[in-house]
């Protein structure tokens, strides 16, 4: 039984302690909507996997309440929860073939043989593994194992699918393909996905909403754009995407002074005199030879190229602006773009709206 309109998963005051002093998850408040692709993003050890395991019932919270579609899970064992997990290591049963692995959950639920066969084949088709039904996991590639793990969970039609860094062990190309496929499958089946990852790009591209975690706490929840464009604090800013930081002090609303004395217009509501950190995305900065080329109403800073790094599709220039610090500027690798050399004098320009002033 589920309560209409209730969130797919609701975490209220959830805390998990290991032993007396290790707090893995700290007083977490989170509601995940029905049908949503929600990512828990954070560095290793931030408590994201523990959170997922608590929803699955593989760990019990020390304190708090976990509800799935309004129903309190309490100390309910994993086999009695309407969720399934795709494990990081896949955890495929080595003594069973693909078919037996995928059908395991249905057999345990006592689904009759013919329905089991039909649903297993559907699931195997869904992840495009037809023809490999009788293979053992040991005879499959990493990508194929990943698909089996996905099919094994989806075949049960869980209300919520939990994915613990499911693409972590795959190489870059395969990971990108699987990201798109996962997203398609989610749109297909319409199940709520909770996706744990430490890869910010993966989270940004796949998720409807992202919850960023740090040291057991949820530090920001929002859609990808919000997380990227308006990080709520330094941790989120530095963890998601590339970001350069300059120390500054608020002069008046909308204006800050850098350590070197330059006045810069920036998005800030802090009261004058507050110390802030000006955060700049490398791709939102531009380089010019002199200030006359800069469009009006932009900020400009004079600096020197200190380092150049070639990334293929782009180049990163580290620009030194003296006492104010230094930051990275990303320039597309296009034929029309001027190549700067280390030591060149440059003018950096950026729009006030593309800055974020973060209070300490």
């Amino acid at each position: 039984m589920s309560i209409d309109g209730a969130p797919a998963v609701g975490l209220h005051g959830v805390t998990k302690k290991f032993g007396e002093d290790v707090v893995a998850v700290d007083d977490m408040e989170l509601e995940i909507r029905d049908g949503e692709f929600f990512s828990l993003l954070g560095p290793s050890g931030c408590g994201k996997t523990t959170t997922l395991r608590m929803i699955a019932g593989l760990e019990y919270p020390t304190d708090g309440s976990i509800r799935i579609f309004g129903e309190e899970m309490g100390l309910r064992p994993p086999n009695k929860r309407p969720v399934n997990t795709v494990f990081q290591s896949y955890a495929l049963f080595p003594h069973m073939n693909v078919e037996q692995n995928v059908g395991f959950g249905l057999r345990m639920q006592g689904v009759d043989r013919s329905t089991e066969r039909q649903r297993v084949n559907e699931a195997i088709d869904l992840v495009r593994l037809s023809g490999l039904n009788t293979r053992r996991p040991g005879a499959l590639s990493g990508g194929q194992q990943q698909r089996v793990a996905l099919a094994r969970a989806l075949v049960n039609r869980p209300k919520v699918l939990l994915l613990d860094e499911p693409l972590g062990a795959l190489d870059l190309k395969l990971r990108q393909t699987m990201q798109l496929e996962l997203k398609d499958i989610q749109a297909d089946v319409g199940i709520t996905f909770i996706y744990v990852t430490h890869d910010q790009e993966e989270a940004l591209t796949m998720s409807d909403r992202i919850g960023v975690m740090s040291e057991g706490k949820l530090v920001q929840v929002g859609v990808s754009e919000d997380i990227y464009e308006s990080p709520s604090n330094l941790f989120v800013a530095s963890f998601v995407g590339d970001m350069s930081f300059l120390p500054a002090e608020v002069v008046e609303p909308g204006s800050v002074r850098l350590a070197g004395g330059e006045l810069v217009r920036a998005k800030t509501n802090s009261s004058p005199g507050t110390s802030v950190t000006l955060a700049l995305r490398p791709e939102k900065l531009h380089l010019f030879a002199d200030a006359s080329q800069v469009p009006p109403d932009r900020n400009t800073l004079n600096g020197t190229v200190a380092r150049r790094t070639f990334y293929g599709e782009s180049l990163f220039y580290e620009v030194d602006v003296g006492a104010s610090g230094s930051f990275d500027v990303r320039v597309e690798n296009l034929p029309v773009m001027r190549r700067w050399e280390v030591g060149d004098k440059v003018v950096v320009d950026f729009h006030p709206d593309s800055t974020t002033a973060l209070a300490e």
Partner: protein, 301 residues
């Protein structure tokens, strides 16, 4: 360096196929040399004696029962069809099977318990405790059991106090107690090794896929501990089948098992050819059975 079709001349290269082959041969020769002491020992003191036993099974007996290496015959082998032989073989098989099953039931739970202790140091201490009996001689330990099971032994006294059992010495239960005691560690150790290797996320995956604790054990843990079950069963079953000391000291004359029966042929009965034939036959059957058992296990794991 530039890419060309020309092969470098022989002075420029350090290695060619002939040298590589020679290096590989030297490698394998060195490996063989390390194994020589073991080969020599096993051939001299294991293979050769077994062959002598096999040869004696075709020997004849003098009037006093002394084996004579002439008038070769198969009398020893034809005697294997005696009713007495089948009685003793059956009894031995039942005892060895029951002992293996008992060791498996008790040993599995214990090995599982050790393997699931979180701290490595706890596991090590528990394993050392399993091995402690080996620090003293098997014969000495069996005699200790004899004292415990005798009329004035503690176990007998306890049985009489509670009215549950009497003196067990020289009965079949005493043999079982002795065999279980003697071979349990041989079951626990391979089981522990197998269970400890199991990836627990597989069990978690089973629980996540609606298996109850019991179901997850039956469908995942148990099948994955199969290598340990097979190794442990063989290590317990084979010596149980040929056990001599335990049934001799604790079982008395009424419960003759294969081991004791064979010893009698070389001693009191003075029938070496029959004893040799019996030994050889058991060896061949057990070897075949073990190979089949291992194969069946290797396929399903």
């Amino acid at each position: 360096m530039t890419l060309t079709d020309e092969r470098p001349s022989s002075e420029e290269v350090a290695v060619n196929p002939r040298l590589e082959r020679a290096a590989r041969r030297r490698e394998s020769w060195r490996g063989f040399l390390h194994a020589v002491p073991a080969y020599v020992y096993l051939i001299l003191f294991f293979v050769l004696p077994l062959m002598i036993v096999f040869v004696f099974s075709f020997a004849s007996r003098s009037r006093t029962g002394r084996p004579e290496l002439e008038n070769w015959n198969v009398d020893g082998w034809t005697r294997l069809t005696d009713d007495l032989v089948s009685t003793i073989v059956t009894r031995s098989l039942v005892v060895a099977t029951l002992n293996t099953v008992l060791c498996l039931i008790i040993g599995y739970q214990f090995a599982y318990w050790i393997a699931t202790r979180r701290k490595q140091s706890t596991r090590t201490i528990l394993l050392i405790l399993v091995l402690i009996p080996f620090w003293s001689n098997f014969l000495v330990r069996t005699y200790a059991w004899r004292m415990l099971l005798d009329s004035d032994g503690y176990i007998t006294q306890l049985g009489e106090l509670t009215g549950l059992w009497g003196r067990m010495l020289f009965t079949l239960p005493a043999v079982f107690i002795g065999l279980l005691y003697g071979y349990l560690p041989f079951m626990v150790l391979p089981l522990y090794a197998a269970i400890e290797r199991i990836d627990w996320s597989l069990v978690e995956a089973g629980r996540d896929l609606y298996a109850s604790g019991t179901k997850a054990f039956m469908k995942i843990t148990l099948p994955l501990s199969k290598p340990g079950i097979i190794a442990g069963s063989i290590l317990v079953f084979i010596p149980s089948l040929g056990a001599y000391v335990t049934p001799d000291i604790l079982g008395g004359a009424k419960t003759t098992l294969l081991g004791n029966f064979i010893v009698t042929q070389f001693g009191a009965a003075r029938n070496w050819p029959f004893g040799s034939a019996l030994s050889s036959a058991i060896l061949i059957v057990m070897l075949a059975a073990t190979i089949v058992y291992f194969r069946s296990g290797a396929r399903t794991v």
